[in-house]
Amino acid sequence: MEKIRIVIVDDSPFSITLLRDILEENGYEVVGDAGSLEEVKEVIRDKKPTLVTMDMTLPGTDGLECTRAIHEIDPNIKVIVVSSMMDEEIVKEAKENRVSEYIQKPVDPDELITAINRIMASEELYHLLETESFPVFKESLLDGVNRMTKTLLNYKEEYSTNTEHESKGLTVIIGIIGKFSGRMLIDLSKETAGNIAAALLRRTPKNNDEMVAAIAEFTNIISGNACSILNRKDKAYGLRVSPPSILYGDSVHISAPNFKTTTAIAETNFGEILINVGFTRGEEKWM
């Protein structure tokens, strides 16, 4: 694995030496240090570390301001606070400023290394989910259509964008909750929805309610199956799905979330189905 690059932010040369020794003895690469806000910005831009250890009390600034400055440069950089100060209020504030872990000085080397490992394991798991989740959801839709309607489908497009899109008619939203939370969304025209519902019920739906209920359950099964497969791949995902919400209306636009989602368009015998899935990295629960 690539060496993890770390920057130490502290105003005490003694603390910097101590932290550097602990980190280097454990195989990490300390690529720089800083003691003021300006130095922090400079070293982050220059060295692009994976992780930063952050003191809370710094001359002319504080650990939280520096953390925000770091995340303005790169929101993916992980910050561990290493400070002599630690109380409920300050820990809460640190969490609100997207600090990943909080450790009190004097530093226990084991505690620090465990914290770093925990953060990096979570990063790795997220990347794994990012790469392996979408194929699983696509497969689950294909499998669901095949098993429930005895037909096949073809994926004709796949893309990741962060722009909003207009609904074709009916949108089903499933919230996903676990180690990382996210959502699955299915969008299709009312005509396609009617066709699928008819195939699922093996007759024409009696009314709109029956059609909507069939599509809701169809979507629920697909999301549930996909999450089960992912959980079997790694139980640390711990994914669970919330019940489906179905929306339809006039010129409904679905806004792009602030995390990456992937979309695929499936061509089925019933019409096109859009599937969109994404997970947010979120922050570690450490309180």
Binding site: T171, G175, S255
Partner: protein, 153 residues
């Protein structure tokens, strides 16, 4: 569906809203609806799992959504419901639901929440999984925000 389950959402509203540049928080009507809701404007869906399973749907009229986004962005004028404004409203739903989850855990009910999904349009019909939906209208400086809570039993 337990009416008491609405309290954490009211509490969350009273905690979060004053932090976003609003001066007054008021409670409007509380009602039970069937699972089909109608609304125009902005709709934000948040999923919930844990000791309780269901969805919470926030609904705000378009002009009101712009006012809220403007207040959240320190009074910056919001003329279009653009990406920035959408992101502000999604974040509001996230903050309110996360805060309500904390209130629930105080009651010994542990829940987790999904990321919010935001949609907007006209004459939106919304079908939720539970047969009964608890709807509470809350006002931030007289701007009504409707919170629809559908929990499965």
């Amino acid at each position: 569906m337990d009416v008491k389950h609405v309290n954490p959402f009211i509490e969350a509203f009273a905690t979060v809203i004053p932090q976003l540049g609003f001066k007054t928080v008021k409670k409007g009507n509380l009602s039970m609806k069937n699972s089909e809701l109608l609304s125009s404007g902005v709709v934000i869906v948040v999923g919930i799992v844990g000791a309780i399973k269901g969805n919470v749907v926030y609904s705000v009229a378009m002009e009101d959504a712009k006012k809220i986004a403007s207040s959240m962005m320190m009074g910056m004028p919001v003329n279009e419901f653009d990406e920035m404004a959408q992101s502000a409203l999604a974040e509001l739903a996230n903050m309110l639901t996360a805060n309500a989850a904390t209130c629930f855990s105080g009651l010994g009910i542990s829940i987790d929440i999904s990321t919010p999904t935001l949609l907007y349009g006209e004459n939106i019909s919304l079908k939720m999984s539970s047969n009964q939906v608890l709807c509470v209208q809350l006002l931030a400086d007289d701007i009504p925000i409707e919170i629809n809570i559908a929990f499965e039993n």
